[in-house]
Amino acid sequence: MNKIIKYVLLDIIKSKIIIAYTLFLLLLSIGLFNLGGSPDKGILSLLNLVLLTVPLISIVFATTHFYNSYEFMELLVSQPINRTKIFMSEYLAVALSLSVAFLVGVGIPVAVFGAGLTGFYLVLTGVFITFIFVAMAFLASVITRDKAKGIGIALMLWFYFALIYDGIVLFILYAFGDYPLEYATLAMTVLNPVDLGRIIVLLNLDVSALMGYTGALYKSIFGSVWGITAAFGLLLLWALIPVLSSRRIFSRRDL
């Protein structure tokens, strides 16, 4: 398995997109930290941009990579290698290289500008989001053989989780504003990894004081060690479910 990961990584590095992505994140984070004044403000603006761009780039890059390595996988499938091994190597190589890019591009500036625990949560959330969206990309890619369709599905997924979902939540909150919705919003947060990541970081910033009663509830849940662990556990689940289901589809289909 390590061997296959090695070859996939070599291929990814050669494409130079990863390097461009790293530089983009690096510029973004250094710029925001210098603009914001206090590290907390920097983290806050960085959080919003990271939660928009990291899923998009992860899902688009992973989907195109999957379709472009079709030949590579075909070549390996006729060799004495397990299909699930080929699939998992592809997944890990893509997710790891994007995560390394994120760690360098965001992790280093966060460490340099000294953002403490909140910064650490931001970096960890970013890595989880990368793994989750690469998993979704692979799911979109194994569902259809058509590259254009696959990228379309991937973009729809990003659109849904990054933009549409929040709209739906806001609509529900507005429409049912007369009812107590604290636990309902909590459930809705869990159903979207991007929101979950956002809440994890936000609640460790002072701004959570501005979020009213729901904010207080969230704070009491996500503020504790247990709450944070559960939240990251849920993020892990968000990565595992698409990976395992796409692995299953991949090992049972014709190439």
Binding site: K3, D11, S78, P80, N82, R252, D254
Partner: protein, 237 residues
Amino acid sequence: MIAIENLHKSYGKLQVLRNVSVEFSPGKVVSIIGPNGAGKTTLSKCILGMVLPDSGEIKIDGQSVLGKHAYRSQIGYMPQIGRYPENMKIRQVIEMIRDIRKDAKEVDEELIGLYSLKEIDEKRMGALSGGTKQKVSAALAFMFNPRILILDEPTAGLDPIAAEILKSKILKEKKRGKLILITSHIMSEIEEVADEVLCLVDGSIKFYETIPDLKAHTQEERLSRAVAKIMNEGYHP
């Protein structure tokens, strides 16, 4: 050596293989023929595990191979259209496959030498012509001295000299007791290298016979005429 029992495969509504049962024994060159879309490639891909059959059984040396992968170390496969990672060089592809199959005891580099692949091994796979890609495919298929070779239209796209080299290699490997399955449309070529002909039409076996038998049955001198006669008149063994 390979036993296929009641193999069925359909892509959606399209039935590609219908109840195919056949046995291949070692030391033979078997040519799989049939019209386009008859299921030749699907059959060889089923043996390789690239296509998963709906029902039926494929056994190699009495062991079922469905859902397994280790048995592929005994198979060399040359695809119809070799598709390779575009930005890898010839050298890297060969090295990678060797790296993956480190446990292979014997490495046969004869075709790499005969096709002078060493001289162009810094070329990117994406920049190669179809024929050169076929040469790489052939070299890879024969490299680990497999007991079974599956060649899918091996000479299509190869220049005459390269095709000759491949044919003599096929005959050489046959003498060493290997089973070689070739799908092809070129009857003269089949006549040169094959011992037996398996004909698929619409996913079922039309006939499976040795070439001399086939000629005797149809009273034709040439294989192409014999096959054409059977196809046109229907076959009654």
